[in-house]
Symmetry: C2
């Protein structure tokens, strides 16, 4: 016997829904009939439990509406999922590192350990998603956008998909910085699945069956996905505002914030209780000097960084669109991607892993560190240059990560990192895996910003400017601005600016970060270039009007007449009663299209 306060965790439960609903509506009107099923066991105890549950529902309903419990549960459940995923991924990454260290001295075995571990994980993730639920691959954000727009795609919200996506994502993330893929996108998708289940549950519990708020729950779930992923509440809401639909209804505003606060709180509390941190801190806490965060003239450098990030993101988006097109048209690749997904993933990851092997090219791109370590090192406020000049400083505080193990200058390492990761990232986007593409782009942007910041620090160090103030420049600030600007430009959003602030808990750089993100966006958005998500929507032929408009800018000026030509009877917007009567007389249809004018050449909204 299923209890009402259980989450609908099984497919079988959904089939029972109809029965339960009928049963339930009976009980809500009249409590005695539930004791009148003589063929079921334990009548007394079932009756007792049901009456108790009804009382609980009444009590819960008096405090606030049932949806609010759903929003709270959504936040808490998503945060728990996020925490469990982080925990598993950390364990798997540590196992890989441990094995690699144990094989120290034998390069061949180290090579196999380095390459085969992520290859196998990714091959497993691909085969798993291929055989169990093919809808679980990719980021999921384009699909969620389409669902928020009102199109029903039940396969994307099924429990099988949730299970596959969760396990597949753990495998993908455990491949680490070799594969260089992230968590956000699939997590937003996972969160919408949880949200859709909770929405069904709320409808089931609610006494008033008329109200249904599945669309609301999806918008809230998108915000919670981002917030639980990083423990960043406000940028989650902003992400939901800007990515999900073209109009944000204020009705969803309070639910979003409520759910997001529950999610962020749970996520942070779990990280405290697990012993990661003693207090509730930001995820990538930085130690920027707050007394002198930056000088007014540096604003110009931040603007330049924004434009640079915009230019690089255009290049990246072009490559991404090209490879999406290529995988759709190349017959060999098309065949492999249709039938041998696991093999393809394994091969590609093997190629990427052998290139990032720390004894080969990997030594120039800091490949032995995890993505978290890479981001932390890029956001460090200390100048790498001064650190390498006087090693004595290094001793008193925790040491910086070594970006160049072979003694080559850090600029070379950063440049190699940027060049190699660009095409690697584009290649990784073709993998049929559950994977997010936001975090890699964020780190890539941080590397761009760091390169500029270290360059400025070098110029001021060699004494081109005699001014003392430039000596205390903070390259970490540039890395943060670069991360926000590049990821904002790639996704055509501004919420990464706030996310960068929330991730680091550093508000001193708010204005330059916002400026860089705006300029990068302005450069990328000019000329109707579709964003990363739009390109995916178009490639997957998802029905999503805004992305279609971005891809075909002349779509809104296509005359409706071209579509309506088949129907003879149309009504002009300015038609009077006589014309309406005439149209009604002429047509046998129930609905008559209303157009701006009868002229076919004219535009109609």
């Amino acid at each position: 016997m299923k209890r009402l306060d259980e989450a609908p965790r099984s497919e079988a439960h959904r089939e029972n829904n109809n029965w339960e609903r009928e049963n339930h509506s009976d009980t809500s009107h009249n409590k005695s009939p539930l004791l009148a099923d003589p063929w079921k066991p334990c009548r007394q105890s079932r009756g007792f439990v049901k009456e108790w549950l009804l009382k609980l529902r009444c009590f819960l309903g008096t405090v606030c509406r049932i949806e609010w419990y759903g929003y709270a549960a959504l936040g808490i459940l998503t945060a728990i999922l996020s925490f469990l995923m982080d925990l598993s991924v950390t364990k798997l990454l540590r196992a890989h590192q441990w094995l690699y260290m144990k094989l120290e001295g034998n390069s061949l075995l180290q090579f196999f350990c380095w390459t085969l571990y992520p290859s196998c994980l990714c091959a497993v993730a691909s085969s798993f998603s291929h055989h169990i639920c093919p809808f679980s691959t990719g980021s999921g954000i384009p699909e969620v956008r389409t669902m928020v727009a009102g199109i029903e795609m039940p396969h994307y919200l099924s429990l099988t998909n949730m299970f596959t996506k969760f396990l597949g994502l753990i495998c993908t993330l455990a491949a680490g910085s070799t594969l260089f893929l992230g968590k956000v996108g699939p997590f937003v998708h996972l969160s919408t699945m949880v949200g859709s289940y909770l929405s069904n549950l709320c409808t089931l519990i609610q006494a008033n069956k008329e109200e249904k708020a599945a669309g609301e729950m999806l918008v809230v779930a998108a915000a919670v996905g981002v917030a639980s992923c990083f423990g960043a509440p406000i940028s989650g809401v902003l992400f939901s505002v800007e990515v999900m639909s073209s109009h944000f209804s204020l009705k969803n505003y309070f639910p979003c914030f409520f759910s997001v606060a529950c999610g962020a709180l749970t996520f942070r509390l779990f990280s405290v209780w697990s012993g990661d941190g003693e207090t509730l801190q930001a995820l990538f806490k930085t130690n920027f000097p707050t007394a002198l965060p930056f000088f007014p003239l540096e604003i110009l450098l931040f603007a330049l960084l924004g434009l640079l990030c915009g230019a690089v993101s255009r290049c990246y988006l072009f490559c991404h669109r090209w490879i999406l097109q290529f995988t759709k048209t190349n017959p060999v690749l098309l065949k492999i991607l249709t039938t041998e997904k696991g093999l393809y993933s394994g091969m590609v990851v093997f190629l990427l892993a052998s290139l990032t092997f720390p004894h080969s090219a990997g030594q120039y791109m800091a490949s032995k560190y995890t993505m978290k370590q890479l981001l932390t090192s890029l956001l460090d406020s200390r100048q790498w240059l001064s650190q390498s000049h006087n090693a004595s400083v290094q001793l008193e505080s925790e040491p910086l990560l070594e970006w160049s193990s072979s003694g080559s200058p850090i600029y070379f390492s950063l440049a190699v990192f940027l060049l190699m990761k660009l095409w690697m990232l584009v290649l990784a986007c073709t993998l049929p895996l559950p994977a997010g593409y936001f975090m890699p782009v964020f780190i890539y942007g941080a590397a761009i910003g760091r390169l500029l910041g270290e360059g400025v620090a070098y110029v001021s160090f060699t004494g081109v400017t005699s001014d003392q103030q430039w000596a205390s420049i903070n390259p970490g600030g540039y890395a943060l601005a670069g991360a926000a600007a590049f990821s904002g430009a790639v996704t055509h959003t501004l919420s990464p600016a706030l996310l960068a602030l929330e991730l680091t808990g550093q508000f001193s750089h708010a204005v330059p970060i916002l400026l860089a993100t705006l300029l990068a966006n302005a450069l990328t958005c000019s000329g109707h270039c579709p964003s990363f998500y739009d390109a995916l929507s178009i490639s997957k032929r998802l029905p999503h009007l805004p992305s279609l408009i971005k891809a075909c800018p002349r779509l809104p000026s296509t005359p409706v007449g071209q579509v309506l030509r088949a129907k003879a009877v149309q009504l002009q917007k300015a038609a009077g009663p006589v014309e309406v009567q005439q149209a009604v007389n002429t047509s046998a249809e129930i609905q008559i299209p209303v157009v701006d004018s009868h002229d076919y050449g004219e535009t109609s909204g």
Copy 2:
């Protein structure tokens, strides 16, 4: 001769618009006719300037659309206005303080200086707004909301109003903490006036006359108003999202952020150049300990604080609605407020000032400090208790403001402050002055939070809990959460939570602040209690549907039939062609109302 790139700063200009527009559209099609006005002087130079301007317009148009220059100009102009206002107010406040200090020793003269200075300023502000533009009184946010909803109120956007509001607001703010009124509301109104002018200018410059985006500009201007007031970009956008309309169009999202970034940047750069600060810092920079911001168990205390703020805000909103009603119904007050606005303002401020005189009751409520000093002292992370216990600590860092000059405990001072300011604030809301009501509410909330924080610190100090961690509790964090929660509850918004973070540049308390604000809002919003702005909208009979719905919750279920009863012919939503034909035959009207059903008792959206 008016130049095209001038801002339309005079009323006369508006009358010239039609002429210029005609002239302009001539020139854009054909450049020679502008030289063919033989009766005007300086034909050659005028023609040269005009052609040069046309070229400039073409060049500007190629970079981006003309509106974007408008958005940038809006941000920059509003920030300059804000900076100028701050500068004047600081000078006026300093003059008052100087005069008061000079009269040290003579209590009677000090009393007159203390009371007459703000009384005269407020009387001047009231008379000024009464005689020049009566639309300039109050906060302006309810009016701006109504305009954003699509209702045209040209008087509220006139240049006279802008001038009156600007000068009146300077007088109000110069009255200082005696009057205890703020800047945000009128500044949002000022910003929309600037925005409306710039919008007209953009329409004038634009080659394509069809597009008009006055509504967009108003939404952007509301965001800029908040952002330029505090140099807080992101909370400005969030304020615009939640206060202005029931749906936020994503079309306004990028313009909002762009304009807000320009505004915040200009505001902060001005404060650097004026010598206030060496770098670009937050307005009320705090020095919270970032290593251990707070302990998980303190979350419960923050939740309690949120509920407390919610309860107090309900009380405050009740008093506010009562006094609004009272001023509308009491015949004596009504007569005074209609004819003798200056006298009324002067008398009320004299009463408030004599109560806050530092030698009388003012000594128990720290009345000799400005609002900025009060907020800074409330947000201080050091415990006032420990400071008063060991005075030696006080020497090494900057001293705390003395809240209790007569040796009474700080709890007593805070409690007196809270009790007195509640009714003073309600009374100040009746003054016919340009004034904002957000900042006082923010400071009041900070005082509530501080009282709780100091209470907790006292309990941990006296050793009720033996745990060491509670000794290092930070009352400033409670003050910040209280400020956000109380101001959020009074205005029924969540953006104060982000504003609190941006004002202090402190992200470590993001989650508890959000939690407290949500709980306070939940308590206040329950039971369809109208917000501060809603109460003003209803009291001023402004056409604003959402606030009307909050005041009369049964409005949406009123049958449309009650309104349409006069008209005989109605169409049902589900009507087929036959019914449409019948309706068209019967009715002579051009428009036929469509209802859900013919039944009058049924609801219709």
